[in-house]
């Protein structure tokens, strides 16, 4: 038998197994639908959280574009040196722009913002230092690289204090990290649940078809021949469960999106929730199929081993 013949044969067997197991699911629509819904809900929950988390992250990224480092220069630094330093810093790759604010400008700004000009006017000398406002380039706008830039700038001899304006950004990222891990833990647990649901469903169907398995074993079926339709059933459960989950996630996200868009408009933002997307859907389907495969693999093998001589 040639190799292509063998391939052809194998392909034919897989086609046969996949079609027949699909037909079998179709013949018990109620039971199948119930199982699929359970799988769908179990997959939808972590998928929903995952999507929302992604939205929070991109929301946070929108904010950190405003991240800015203020360099308070030492009083001894002259205006010329400060401007020199400013143009020097502008050369750096991770710096987008540097604005020099002289003590006089700073004072004016302070007066304008606080409205306590009278008190300031009473002062004989200007207490404010010169300030350089450094804007990092967009590509370094992650908490880590901003942090690195900050420590670099702190080391400059002319700088007295370097301050990152948005400490809260770091906190946001930490919180997101905590939530992210929570989502993964939940996803792992619910993934296990899907594995068990599919494993149990396949176990029941091997039990129901015990006699049939026995008979085709008698006429020379190999374990892989017996296993194949069950593996396909498991993968179908996973795939269709994932599709249901995808639908549930889409509905949930578009339902949440209505108030989110309204809220964003109040802050004159174009922000809107994004869903799973095509790639996310494909990933979800893969997760479902893999869980279905292994769930049924374990069940069928257990059955075959228990009935072997």
């Amino acid at each position: 038998m040639s190799l292509s013949d063998r391939w052809h044969k194998l392909l034919e067997r897989h086609a046969h197994a996949s079609v027949s197991s699909l037909g079998r699911l179709w013949r018990t629509p109620f039971a199948t639908m119930l199982t699929l819904l359970v799988i769908g809900v179990a997959l939808a929950l972590p998928a929903c959280l995952y999507v929302l988390l992604g939205n929070v992250q991109s929301f946070g990224q929108g904010w950190d574009k405003g991240a800015q480092i203020s360099l308070f220069l030492k009083v001894s630094v002259s205006q010329a040196t400060a401007q020199d330093l400013a143009s020097q810093l502008k050369q750096r790759d991770d710096v987008a722009n540097v604005t020099y604010i002289s003590p006089q400008d700073g004072l004016k700004k302070f007066q304008a913002q606080t409205g306590i000009g009278d008190i300031v006017e009473d002062l004989h000398s200007n207490p404010l230092p010169a300030v350089l406002e450094v804007q990092p380039t967009l590509s370094v706008q992650t908490p880590k690289s901003i942090e690195a830039l900050l420590t670099d700038l702190k080391r400059l001899p002319q700088v007295d204090i370097a301050e990152l304006d948005m400490q809260w950004l770091k906190r946001l990222y930490t919180i997101i990290e905590v939530i992210r891990r929570g989502v993964w833990a939940l996803a792992a647990l619910l993934g296990l649940a899907v594995l068990l649901v599919i494993g149990n469903t396949i176990r029941l169907s091997t039990q129901n078809r015990r006699q049939e398995i026995e008979i085709i074993k008698l006429i020379g079926a190999t374990n892989s021949f017996i296993r194949r339709p069950f593996l396909y059933s498991g993968m179908y459960y996973g795939l269709f469960g994932a599709i249901i989950a995808w639908i549930l996630v889409s509905i949930t996200i578009s339902w949440l999106n209505v108030p989110v868009v309204q809220l964003a408009k109040l802050y004159s933002s174009q922000f809107s929730l994004h869903g799973l997307g095509f790639l996310g859907g494909v990933k979800l389907a893969c997760v479902g199929i893999v869980l279905g495969f292994f769930g049924s693999w374990f069940s069928v093998n257990r059955h075959l081993r228990a009935n072997e001589l």
């Binding site: 044969k9 008979i215 008698l218 006429i219 020379g220 374990n223 001589l309």
Partner: protein, 236 residues
């Protein structure tokens, strides 16, 4: 074709189903297996079909020493043996055609080859017109014939039948036995376990008799009868 050498089978430690059984069947031979209920007929056939492994002894079937057959290889051994039971073990969800085609599907034959061979097997058991039926719609004898068609569709070298006529009336039984004989005439080795002594006596083939898991030959039988009569005589 079948060689049992000192074969013993114990399902549980203190009960022997077969003990020290030695017998031989030539290629192309047909034989009947008989004996009281619990004598070990089914056990012998199961051992020959590698449905069970013996506790002791050596079994060689079709040149293959079963001791050397690993678990993974068992299916390939089975494909060369046609098995028939009292209950035909058909799959109720499949049509007659698909039931008979099953061994070929498992073997991976092409679609055309399957069509050809299934039709031939069904014609052989005179069920060519029932291929679209489901097993439920067939009589007991017809179901049994479907089971036989399935057993021979792969053209195995050996047919093993365990009380294939157990549920059938005398006419049908004779018909089924004749079918086996026809297969034997084209070179298939056939071993049939049966209770139906009048029927098998009429067929002029070797009869292997088991008694409590041992081979029971005619000479010994006479001896045993003699002893028995004597004992009874003493008792009376």
């Amino acid at each position: 074709m079948i060689d049992f050498d000192n074969v013993s089978m114990r399902y549980d430690p203190n009960h022997t189903a077969l003990s020290n059984l030695t017998f031989h069947m030539a290629k192309g031979e047909m034989a009947f297996l008989t004996g009281h209920s619990g004598a070990g007929k089914s056990t012998l056939l199961k051992l020959a079909a590698l449905l069970e492994r013996p506790t002791n002894g050596k079994i060689v079937v079709n040149g293959c020493n079963y001791k050397r057959v690993s678990r993974r290889k068992i299916p390939y051994i089975r494909r060369n043996i046609g098995l028939i039971f009292q209950n035909p073990h058909l799959l109720p969800e499949l049509t007659v055609f698909d039931n008979v085609a099953l061994p070929l599907v498992i073997h991976g034959f092409s679609h055309q080859e399957i069509q050809k061979r299934v039709r031939a097997a069904l014609d052989k058991v005179s069920l060519g017109n029932k291929e679209r039926c489901y097993p439920k719609g067939l009589s007991g004898g017809e179901q049994q014939r479907v089971g036989i068609a399935r057993a021979v569709v792969n053209r195995p070298a050996l047919l093993l039948a365990d009380e294939p006529t157990g549920n059938l009336d005398p006419d049908l039984s004779a018909e089924i036995m004749n079918l086996f004989q026809e297969f034997n005439e084209v070179g298939v080795t056939v071993l049939v376990a049966s209770h139906d002594l009048p029927l098998i006596a009429s067929m002029r083939h070797r009869i292997i008799t088991l008694k409590q898991g041992r081979l029971f030959d005619a000479g010994a039988q006479l001896q045993w009868q003699a002893n028995h009569v004597q004992e009874e005589g003493v008792l009376v």
